[in-house]
């Protein structure tokens, strides 16, 4: 039988994964493991070269249930990786939009030494947001994809 990255132990009802941090970043492995905290106890251990994730389901399960769980975990690993990459790709757009939305409304000075509180009124809701400067890399990225 082909060896995969997981090992099923039917007697202790656990499934363990050996994952190389060279293949998936540690944050991705942890995020994938996080998705399974509802299904059972999740243990993450390891070191620089290998990370071991063990899932101990809450309920009694069969070998095929454990196998299913193992594939689900692998799907989640890929999914978490893709989500992370997509998020990175859009980080600049996200930051730019959030800055433009939030910065004009600088919170008031809440210094206790200045009574009464000098509350700066927020910009009116209908005001046009200030110029939004997008980084050149983002502009060329879109041009490349669409035009």
């Amino acid at each position: 039988m082909k060896k995969y990255n997981f090992k099923i132990d039917s007697s202790s009802q656990t499934v363990s994964f050996k994952i190389s941090p060279l293949l998936f970043p540690k944050a991705v492995i942890l995020q994938a493991a996080y998705h399974f905290i509802e299904d059972g106890k999740v243990v993450v251990e390891g070191e620089d070269k290998i990370i071991i994730v063990t899932i101990i389901p809450n309920k009694a399960v069969t070998k095929s249930d454990l196998e299913e769980l193992a594939y689900e975990f692998n799907i989640q690993l890929i999914s978490s990786f893709v989500e992370g990459e997509e998020s990175k790709k859009h980080a600049k757009i996200r930051e730019t939009m959030l800055k433009a939305a939030v910065l004009p409304q600088t919170p008031p000075s809440f210094s206790r030494s200045t009574p009464p509180p000098a509350y700066r009124s927020p910009a009116p809701l209908s005001a046009t947001p200030p110029d939004v400067k997008l980084p050149p890399s983002e502009q060329s990225y879109f041009k490349k994809e669409v035009k």
């Binding site: 989500e83 997509e86 859009h90 939305a101 939030v102 409304q105 919170p107 809440f110 009124s121």
Partner: protein, 480 residues
């Protein structure tokens, strides 16, 4: 002007797909959305969309494609959604006591028959604090307990004094109180009528259910007394009294129809299927009250379907969570502070316990974890700066939420999360609120895209100001 982008440059915004029937729902961080066919979705993914095509227009309107115009709208939507984080607190809940003649199974401040009430000096300091806040238009004071009618004289004092101070500052003033109604008298009813205020009553539905949830301290049911006074206040005194039920596992056994019918009997047209919060006494009876998210979702959905069916027969009635969810889908405005993320605790709302402790929200009052200070020693700037870390409860900063297609529309109750997880951050994979709300949003998006009559009714439930346009104007127009 978005000069640095240039008029002819567009970007594809970060988007979150979700399979919906035969199409794909695509949403964005700022809440723009549209439902695409599979072919349209493939074009979006490939980025090969002809400028000027119908698809381009749809995506631009939803802010999925960012043109200079679309970028301005998306940024403005984000700004409107988060504006409350920058506004001074205008909603204040004062607990005049923690004494109560009821022994409700889920009581979140864990009120008891013991005397523990606010002194008049403390009430004055609370009002000093509230009116030190640089509110611009008006403020709202809600009185809670315990049972406020046990301290009716103090309630009247806060009302009179609050109204006077608001007038001096040229502010609008709204006042209300929650009550179990059991200690109502004709004298108090007359005074409420003269004050022109709106009491809010906890009423859980059918007699048997209400009595199980909300017995007197001695164990007898309170239903008859509540119904008697509710009708009398409404019919004889013409007082605009409202009711809210709390939903627990016990409620699920009765079904939503029974609760809606009870509400219709007392003339109420808005029903809020509000799940109990895991705080106070609810924690000691948690196993009995606990609902599985799927069970609560099915209950809620059945309730919404029942409301829709009644509307089609000409009986106007709506469920409030559905109403706010629809609003969040259609508009960036967040009128309900419980339907924001982060919620309004510490920003839009402050709560004052009978001993003068200032808390981020009335729901967390009994938990003690969100005590922000005290009226004896703290001023508003100090309280507000202590609340600032709560802004990190934004879905953008919560694992899993930050890539969820429904992140711009959902809510999370701080108090409930704390009760279930003993911490501020929801553990999303096992979050009750996340599980049922995901199903609810899928249901609502399907409804407004599939059934035109139901869609029309649901769209009419929106709660925002008419000046706010739909996020997906063309889509909503075609479905309605």
């Amino acid at each position: 002007m978005l000069g640095s982008i240039g008029q002819k440059t567009q970007l594809i915004n970060e988007f979150f797909p979700f399979p919906l029937g035969s199409g794909i729902l695509v949403t964005t961080r700022h809440g723009g959305w549209n439902i695409l066919s599979n072919d349209e979705y493939q074009l979006l993914k490939s980025g090969k969309i002809n400028e000027g095509s119908e698809l381009f227009k749809k995506l631009e309107e939803a802010g999925i494609i960012l043109t200079p115009k679309g970028m301005r709208k998306a940024v403005n939507d984000l700004r409107i959604q988060n504006n409350y984080l920058y506004l001074p607190t205008a909603y204040h809940v004062i607990a005049v006591n923690n004494q109560c003649n009821f022994n409700c199974i889920y009581c979140h401040p864990d009120a008891t028959p013991r005397e523990n009430e606010m002194k008049i000096e403390t009430a004055k300091k609370v009002l000093d604090f509230i009116f030190s806040i640089p509110i611009q238009k008006g403020c709202q004071i809600i009185i809670e307990g315990g049972e406020p009618l046990l301290k009716w004289d103090l309630v009247k004092f806060i009302f009179e004094e609050g109204r006077k101070r608001a007038k001096e500052k040229n502010l609008q003033f709204r006042f209300s109180f929650t009550t179990n109604l059991s200690l109502m008298t004709d004298k108090i009813a007359k005074e409420i009528q003269e004050m022109g205020i709106t009491p809010c009553v906890s009423f859980d539905g059918p007699k048997d259910l209400h009595n199980k949830h909300r017995p007197f301290v001695g164990g007898e049911g309170s239903y008859d007394k509540v119904i008697y006074w509710f009708k009398k206040l409404k019919n004889d005194y013409k007082i605009n009294v409202h009711a809210i039920p709390v939903i627990t596992n016990i409620s699920l056994q009765y079904g939503p129809e029974a609760i809606i019918d009870e509400y219709l009997k007392i003339g109420e047209k808005i029903i809020f299927f509000k799940p109990f919060r895991a705080s106070g006494r609810a924690l000691s009876s948690f196993q009995e009250l606990k609902m599985e998210p799927e069970d609560f979702y099915n209950f809620w959905k059945k309730g919404v379907e029942y409301c829709l069916a009644l509307n089609k027969k000409g009986i106007e009635v709506r469920e409030l969570d559905a109403s706010y969810f629809i609003t969040n889908i259609l508009s960036p405005q967040r009128r309900s502070m419980c339907h924001r993320r982060p919620c309004g605790a510490g920003f839009s709302i402050l709560s004052y316990n009978y001993d003068g402790t200032i808390n981020g929200c009335d729901a967390t009052r009994g938990q003690g974890f969100l005590d922000l200070g005290h009226v004896d020693k703290d001023d508003y700037p100090a309280i507000r700066s202590r609340a600032l870390p709560l802004a990190t409860l934004s879905p953008d900063l919560t694992p899993i939420c930050s890539s969820c297609p429904f992140m711009a529309y959902c809510r999370h109750c701080l108090s409930d999360v704390y009760g279930r997880e003993n911490g501020l951050y929801p553990k999303i994979p096992r979050s009750f609120e996340c599980h049922w709300q995901k199903a609810a949003f899928e249901y609502l998006f399907k409804k407004i895209s599939e059934d035109s009559k139901d869609a029309q009714i649901l769209l009419s439930w929106r709660q925002d100001h008419p000046e706010f346009s739909n996020r997906s104007q063309s889509y909503v127009q075609t479905t309605s």
